[in-house]
């Protein structure tokens, strides 16, 4: 079984549009939406949830006010500024480290489990899907990504699927690292803007750091052809394969508004055709690995 992660560095370059199109084109793939704090793939693939799991990513300090003598030690020693002046726990700031509980001379503080979100296993028209939703204001998105990927692996084994398509989060931090470790290829979707180029370079460095084969796709390449040319030559100099150049089209937004993938909504359009061509090229290159 192979795993492909779609990432971008910069947000809004078209990761989810492309991941959803791959889902349709792949037929037997398992999908994993690893953008757990702002997941969007479900709006194009309309999964039917068959299993929901609570996600307990971290703990939280709980103060028993009947035992507390307001000595302030917990507030002084907390490195996350999570204890307020009224000696209450700020749930947003608390990282559940347990230092306050260990130091409290009255044993008034304990650590409790906290539910930070939910992981889902779902069925779509195009195959099974693992996804999740981090509760608003919760931390530990990286751990939730790991849970989604684990669910996707179990699904792919059960369903005899040979590919997991992972829609990754933007950025290069913890949830992105959790989305790319150990995958067969990282498919970087970029756009021909100064920010797109800057963030592409950092995304490629990240893939190199974790020893993941990079593939690059320039989305909306015709917005600025000079910049597209810069991306292509940068990739050539660094031996990174550019697998496709997708044109800008208002059809992409129309498809999204209609809750459809671009390959369903406008199958004969230039965008769908290029994505299909990229898919052919890429699926043979991954399976050949």
């Amino acid at each position: 079984m192979k795993q492909l992660t779609i990432l971008s560095g910069k947000g809004g370059t078209g990761k989810t549009t492309i991941a959803a199109a791959f889902a349709v084109l792949a037929r037997n793939a398992v999908l994993a939406d690893c953008d757990v704090d702002a997941p969007d793939l479900h709006m194009l693939l309309h999964p039917e949830v068959i299993k929901t799991q609570e996600f307990k990513g971290s703990k939280i300090a709980v103060i028993d006010k009947t035992k507390c003598v307001n000595c302030d030690l917990c507030r002084e020693k907390c490195r996350f500024d999570a204890i307020t002046e009224a000696i209450e726990v700020d749930p947003v700031a608390c990282e559940g480290c347990g230092v306050c509980a260990a130091l409290c001379p009255e044993d008034a503080i304990t650590l409790a489990e906290r539910v930070s979100g939910y992981a889902y296993i779902s069925k779509t028209k195009y195959g099974f899907m693992a996804h999740a939703l981090l509760s608003p204001g919760e931390a530990n998105s990286g751990k939730l990504v790991t849970l989604v990927r684990q669910n996707a692996r179990v699904l792919s084994e059960k369903e005899n699927s040979d590919l997991i398509v992972i829609d990754g989060p933007p950025g290069i931090g913890c949830p992105v690292i959790a989305s790319v470790t150990g995958v067969d290829a990282g498919f970087v979707v970029t756009e021909p803007t100064m920010s797109g180029i800057h963030d592409l370079k950092r995304a490629l460095q990240l893939l190199e750091h974790f020893n993941v084969t990079p593939l690059v796709c320039v989305n909306m390449y015709d917005i600025n052809k000079d910049n597209t040319e810069k991306i292509v030559s940068f990739c050539r100099e660094n031996n990174v394969e550019v697998v496709g150049k997708i044109p800008f089209s208002p059809k992409v937004t129309e498809a999204m508004v209609n809750g459809k993938t671009i390959v369903e909504y406008s199958p004969r359009g230039a965008v769908a055709k290029e994505i299909a061509r990229v898919w052919e090229k890429m699926s043979s290159s991954i399976s050949g690995k």
């Binding site: 560095g9 969007d40 204001g137 990286g142 933007p170 690292i177």
Partner: protein
């Protein structure tokens, strides 16, 4: 006054709004807290005059004192320490720098040392001061670096903060203590969906906010209905124009080439000031 600019969904135009607003006002401090992918400097072209490394504290185990008792590993909620009978292994990327292992060690065998996670960069364009953080590639934790960027806030100055994408810890750390948050969205289903999540986060944090609709004209009208139903003011609409997109792609803030926008961004800032009551 501290105003942060956030969005939920990426690529909706946070940096564009933050930079254009900052340039239109002039005497301001702009902090780019998107330390994973800082982009404000790509539009501002500032003179950069200083770089400062940022460190976090991590445990250092004195092997001679360590009994391999495993108390530190037992204490660590993040699995950053693993004790075998021969050695205690430390995984720095997992460490949250809470200092708990030091308390847990019965032999005082643990001290703290600095570990680099990224850098602060300082620059300026005229009266506008820019500070941004750049996370070292491969480092998972953005939050300590975001805290370091926010420590640079100059009191008595108006501050605009460009927030990272998403709705989890990096965004929360960025927006904490802001007087106001501008949410930049686009009128698409993805934009609206992620806006709704961000609204929940801000309500939980009790930070007042309003919306700027970017690329107005594309997509659908649902974002307007939603804002109306939820009583969220829409302070500005930026239409989808190829010229704006092209200027952005070249790294040019569009208010410099389309001066009518300078006034609109000044008006946006006055509206925020009025809503905050400062």
């Amino acid at each position: 006054m501290i105003v942060s600019v956030a969005s939920g969904k990426g690529g909706t135009g946070k940096t564009s709004v933050a930079v254009n607003m900052a340039l239109s006002i002039g005497n301001i401090q702009l902090l780019d807290c998107d330390v994973e992918e800082p982009n404000a400097h790509l539009l501002l072209h500032p003179n950069m005059h200083r770089t400062e490394p940022v460190y976090v504290l991590v445990p250092h185990i004195n092997e001679e004192l360590c009994l391999r008792c495993g108390e530190c590993a037992k204490f660590c909620q993040y699995n950053a320490l693993f004790a075998s009978s021969e050695k205690v292994l430390f995984f720095p990327e997992l460490c949250h720098s809470c200092g708990g292992c030091i308390i847990a060690c019965p032999r005082q065998a643990i001290t703290e040392e600095k570990r680099r996670i990224g850098a602060l960069k300082f620059g300026a364009v005229g009266e506008l001061k820019l500070v941004y953080g750049e996370l070292d590639v491969g480092e998972p934790m953005a939050v300590p670096l975001i805290k370091a960027v926010k420590k640079q806030i100059e009191n008595n100055k108006n501050v605009i903060i460009d927030a990272p994408v998403g709705t989890s810890c990096p965004v929360i750390e960025t927006v904490r203590e802001s007087d106001f948050c501008v949410l930049v969205t686009e009128p698409t289903p993805f934009g609206l969906h992620d806006l709704k999540i961000t609204v929940q986060v801000l309500r939980k944090m009790k930070v007042p906010f309003a919306v700027v609709v970017n690329r107005a004209g594309i997509g659908a009208k649902k974002v307007y209905t939603y804002c109306k139903e939820e009583n969220i003011p829409i302070l500005l609409e930026i239409p989808y124009q190829r010229k704006i997109a092209e200027l952005y792609s070249r790294g040019v803030p569009f208010s410099l080439e389309m001066p009518e926008w300078k006034e609109k961004f000044q008006a946006l800032f006055s509206d925020i000031r009025r809503l905050v009551g400062k």
